[in-house]
Each structure stands twice: as C-alpha cells, then as structure tokens.
Amino acid sequence: MAETTYIEAITQAMHEEMARDERVFLIGEDVGVYGGAFKTSYGLIDRFGPERVVDTPISEIAIIGAASGAALMGMRPIAEMQFIDFITCGYDMLVNFSAMSSYLFGRACPMVVRGPAGGGTHGGPYHSLNPEAMFMNRPGLKIVAPGTAYDAKGLLKAAIRDDNPVLYIEHKYLYRRVKENLPDEDYIVPIGKANIRRKGKDLTILTWGAMIYVADDAAAELAKDGVSVEVVDLRSILPFDEEAILESVAKTNRVIILHEAPLTGGAGAEFAARIAEKAFDYLDAPIKRVAALDVPTPYSPPLEAYVLPNKEKVLAAARELLAY
C-alpha cells in the first residue's frame, strides 16, 4: 500500500501494462522525451525506449489512425490526446474507423484514447472539454471517466486489456488533488460497473468524474439536515450500469443527475430518459439535472465558476426535490 495521486495512478497503470504486455505502447505528442505535457508518461521512455513511447507530430488524426492500424495488427496502443479537447481534430478517425471496426468488419481494434479533460483549472474554452456526450451517440466505443485514483488505475488497465476501442477520460483537476492508498497487487476495475460511493435512502446523485466530490460535499451538507443521500459514481459512461442506476432510484425515489458537461444533449439526458422509461413508478419527484450552462467553458475564474456545476447548485436542486 502506498499513497498515490490520480495522475500517478495513470502513470503506474501504463508502466505496469507495458511491462506486462509487450504489445502495449504509447503514442502521442510530447509523450516521450518530455514525459507528457502533465508528466503522465513520466519515466516511460527511459524504461521502454522510443520504439514503444512514440513522439508524434501535432496530428490527432495520425495519432488515432496509426493507433487503429497498429491495433488491427494485434498491438495494444494507448493514444494520448495532449488535452482531450483535441480529440475533436481526430473525431472522424475514432468514430468512423476505430469505433466501427467490430460491427462492420469483425476486426478487433484494442486501443485506448486517453487525455486530460474537464474544467475548474482555468484552462479556457479549448482546454476544458468534457467530451463523453459527443461519442455516446456513435456506437462502438466504450467510454470511461474515473473519479478516484483507484478507479483511474483499475479502469485504465481494464481499458488497455479490452479488445475494443476505449475512450478514457481523465479529469485533470483531479491529477494532483486526490490521492489514496492503492493495492500493491495487480487489479482492474471492470468497465460497465458503477460504484455506490455513499449509501443513502432519500435521494440519489448520479454522477462521474470530478463531480463525485461535488456530490460528496452536497451529501455531507444534506446529512446535517438529516437527509440521506446515495452517491452513485457511474465510472463507465458506455456501456453504463443501468442496473445500478435503477436500483438506486428504486430505493431513494428521487434522483439528481450531475455532470460537468453542458446540460443540453449531455449524457445526463440519456440517463434521465432511461430512468423515466424504466423506473417511472418509483419516482416521487421529477428527475433533476445539474450540469454546466450551455456555453463553452470560459477562462476567467468568476466566469468559469458561474458556468460549472457546484455544491450550491446541487443543494438547490436537492431541496427542490425533497419538497415534493
């Protein structure tokens, strides 16, 4: 057991998987000699050499495309987007080539595309993206978004070992802000399984990524008023743990869906629809979504704070629901 930060957990997962399986390699911008813009790939090139830690031109299409080609050859590439925002430059390649590999052609395409996502770091509109929704409606990918160091490591290992393309969304706000003791032994966190982070009976907060801590804070606040909140950390966005969602809603009868991406067309809309379709009879109040405003994430701290979800917004939504 050793105390490990979220970013160290990602680095460890890559080290361990590259040591375990010589088919695993890393490809991206500044991942080699520099060790990654956030030092996520720290030490990899020294240990595994430039053949397996491939520095590329600024070319997201080439990174994702070359990773896809290598994956078809039986390799297990990890393609790094320097910021996940730049995945939009390679979007076509990922959704039209990699994601359709199994369904159209029966070809395994075992690859991970990962990169730092999310706001709260004053990164501005081009360095704060939460990209899950733009991939949810293009079948073929798996999408994971860990919120803890334990899940960051376990989900990355699971993603690397998966035979399909996996979009691994790491939240850069959490890189050095969260840490925990991780097991020394090898483990994975299965894709598609939610984690009940906090058990409760009055209200469910369904969330993922950095928002799990906002949910924790809101839950602690509500506990002071005697309200018992269940926090469900979805962890996997696609496929998602429908059973865990429905079970929690059946128990608490009230649900807030909390996510950092903009509200309209966000992943929360899908979860809300699923709950409405399959757990309507259990609901004592409307399904409530707390999400970012429908604007790009602005740079200046007061603007950014206004746009992103926070504890107060969750508490306001919770009190509205509890009044039913």
């Binding site: 590329t56 080439a62 070359a66 896809s68 080609g69 290598a70 078809l72 390799m75 080539f97 159209l104």
Partner: protein
C-alpha cells in the same frame, strides 16, 4: 496523342507465368466488373456500383509488386478492385458484398470492397472518409516494425483524397517515422465531377512529396510494367528501411463516379484519348511482341476468367440475405458474433 504512346517492355525479371498471371488479374477485374454491372441492372446490387474501368492496370501491377508472404498489406480505394484480387480476395466475396449477402465478408453491414483484414487477408478496404486510411496504413507499418516483421504497406489515394487533412497528417507522420510504406496517388482526372485542376494548384500530385520530405515520382499509370517496376523499386526501398515513396500514376476514370453518373462533364475527346491508352490491350500487345503469350493463350485466360466469374456469381446468388435481428449483434468484439 495516340502516336506518342509508348509502352514499357522491360519485364523486371518477371517470369512468363507471372506475366500471364498479371494478364489473368487484369481480365478478371474487367470481367468481374462487367458482371457486377449486369447484376446492378438486374437490381441485385443493392447500393451504388463504382467502376475501375481504365484503372485496372495500375491496380493490378502495384499490388503484384508486394510480397504477401512477408505480411505486406495493400489498401485499395473503390477503383482498385484489381489490387485485392491479386492479394487473394475471392470474386464471390466481392459479389456477395455488393449484393449485401449474409455470408459476404461484412455480412451485409458494409458495401463495395470495404472489407479485409491486414493480418488475415493481406488487404484492408478503405472507409468512405477519404484520406483516413493513410494514417491507418502508417499504423500497420509501425506495428510491423515493432513486431520485427519486414512487411511493407501499400496505400492508394486519389487526386481528391490527396486534398484531405488525414492524407497530409498520415504522410507526414509516416515520413517522419521513416515507415515502410508506399503510397500511390492516382490522378484519374476527376473526383466525382471535380477535375484535378480544381483539386490542387500543384503541378503534379507527386510534387506534394517535397512537402513531406519523402521520395516522389510521376509515371504513366496505364503502362502495367512501368507501374510494376516503379512500385517494386519503392517496395524494396521501404523494406530496406529507406522510407516512404509517393508514386503518382497518371490514369483516367473511364466511367462516371458511379453507375448513375453519365459523366456529361467530361469532354468526349478526353475519353476517346484515354481509350487509346487502355492498359489492358497495351500490356497484352507487349506480351505478344515479346513472345510471352500467344493469342490462343490469351483466349484461354479469358475463358478461365469467365468460368470463374460464372461460378462466383452462382455462389453469390445462392447466398441468403442476412437475418434482420443480426443487425443488433457484434458491436463489441467480445459479443462473439463474428466467431459464429
């Protein structure tokens, strides 16, 4: 124009059998496509039909320069049907693919010659987003190098596709990495209705090689042995670790973009001019002149081709259409759909 046509007779060490085999693939391509046209007119081809008429020579010759025992991989565009026949694709599979049959290579999920697996088949079909296959073929070459194989990848791109960002990113990456890759950029006159002059202001498509820093050359795409020789040389360079070559082949799309397109935008004299440059009779004339083949042998090859296409058509026509509910399966590979 016609009096200026010269055809290479250097056979680059190809044996008589190999030269006859090239003829066989040229004839097979043309006959298969003629059959597909017949099936299209009977409404048995479900989607569009895209002809490679006029481009069979470069498609076959280029693919013939690869060594599939080394793991070489060719990536065709829709007008390089001949290249995958050389790599080993079965005509019956191509017909099934066009007819959307259950036992076609994509089981009715995709059309055209969009199929194949780089490891299993030695070819991988394109996706419809032009240019995307260049980075993918670079990745296949990169994996081959990591796996200590000596394989070479051969990618086709068109005059239209060479305008895409994916093409530029892929070429740049492949060249920087000095990957064992050969890229054939076909100038066939038109991308759908857009002439090459509206596609690029570069004097030749091979000029783009300067920007990447790779080798670049322009050749007559309708001269089979010239294409074979140039691609063979590029493949050897690639296999020896000397990096990427961009080969521009000058050729012509003798039909519209697809069967629905009467190519009214193409001047008639241009089509007539290129008709004179047709690769197939030019190549066969060389074989006859060299004494490699006789008219009787060529007739025998044509008979064999017709028989094979008849059999392939019968097989494809007998095949069932897919079971509707199968459409829900196979999204993720562990589903097992593709194993069954």
């Amino acid at each position: 124009m016609t009096d200026t046509i010269t055809t290479t007779s250097n056979t680059h060490g190809l044996s008589h059998d190999q030269l006859l085999e090239i003829t066989y693939y040229l004839r097979l391509t043309r006959t298969l496509e003629e059959r597909l046209v017949a099936l299209f007119r009977q409404a048995k081809v479900i989607g569009g039909l895209y002809r490679s008429l006029g481009q069979e020579g470069e498609s076959v010759a280029a693919a013939y320069a690869l060594d599939y025992t080394q793991g070489d991989v060719v990536q065709p565009l829709i007008r390089n049907i001949g290249s995958i026949l050389v790599a080993g694709a079965r005509p019956a599979d191509i017909i099934k693919q066009y007819m959307a049959k259950a036992d076609g290579p994509t089981r009715g999920r995709e059309l055209n010659i969009h199929f194949g697996h780089p490891q299993r088949d030695g070819f991988i079909g394109q996706i419809s987003m032009l240019g995307d296959m260049i980075p993918v073929m670079a990745g296949i070459a990169l994996a081959g190098r990591m796996q200590k194989k000596k394989l070479v990848t051969l990618a086709f791109i068109g005059d239209g596709g060479s305008s895409t960002g994916a093409f530029w990113e892929g070429m740049n990456f492949a060249t920087v990495q000095k990957l064992p890759m050969v890229v054939i950029v076909e100038d066939n006159g038109y991308a759908y209705s857009t002439p090459t002059s509206k596609q690029t202001a570069a004097k030749t498509l091979a000029d783009k090689a300067y920007a990447f820093g790779c080798a670049g050359v322009t050749i007559d795409g309708n001269d089979v042995l010239a294409v074979y020789g140039e691609v063979k040389r590029a493949v050897e360079r690639a296999r020896n670790g000397e990096g990427v070559t961009l080969i521009e082949v000058k050729t012509f799309r003798m039909k519209g973009h697809a069967e629905h397109d009467n190519q009214a935008y193409v001047p008639r004299e241009l089509i007539d001019e290129w008709q004179q440059k047709d690769a197939v009779p030019r190549f066969e004339k060389v074989l006859l002149e060299l004494g490699v083949a006789t008219q009787e042998q060529l007739a025998e090859i044509q008979q064999r081709v017709k028989r094979e296409i008849d059999e392939a058509t019968d097989e494809a026509e007998r095949s069932p259409m897919p079971t509707p509910s199968d459409a829900a399966r196979g999204l993720y590979i562990e589903d097992g759909y593709w194993n069954g």
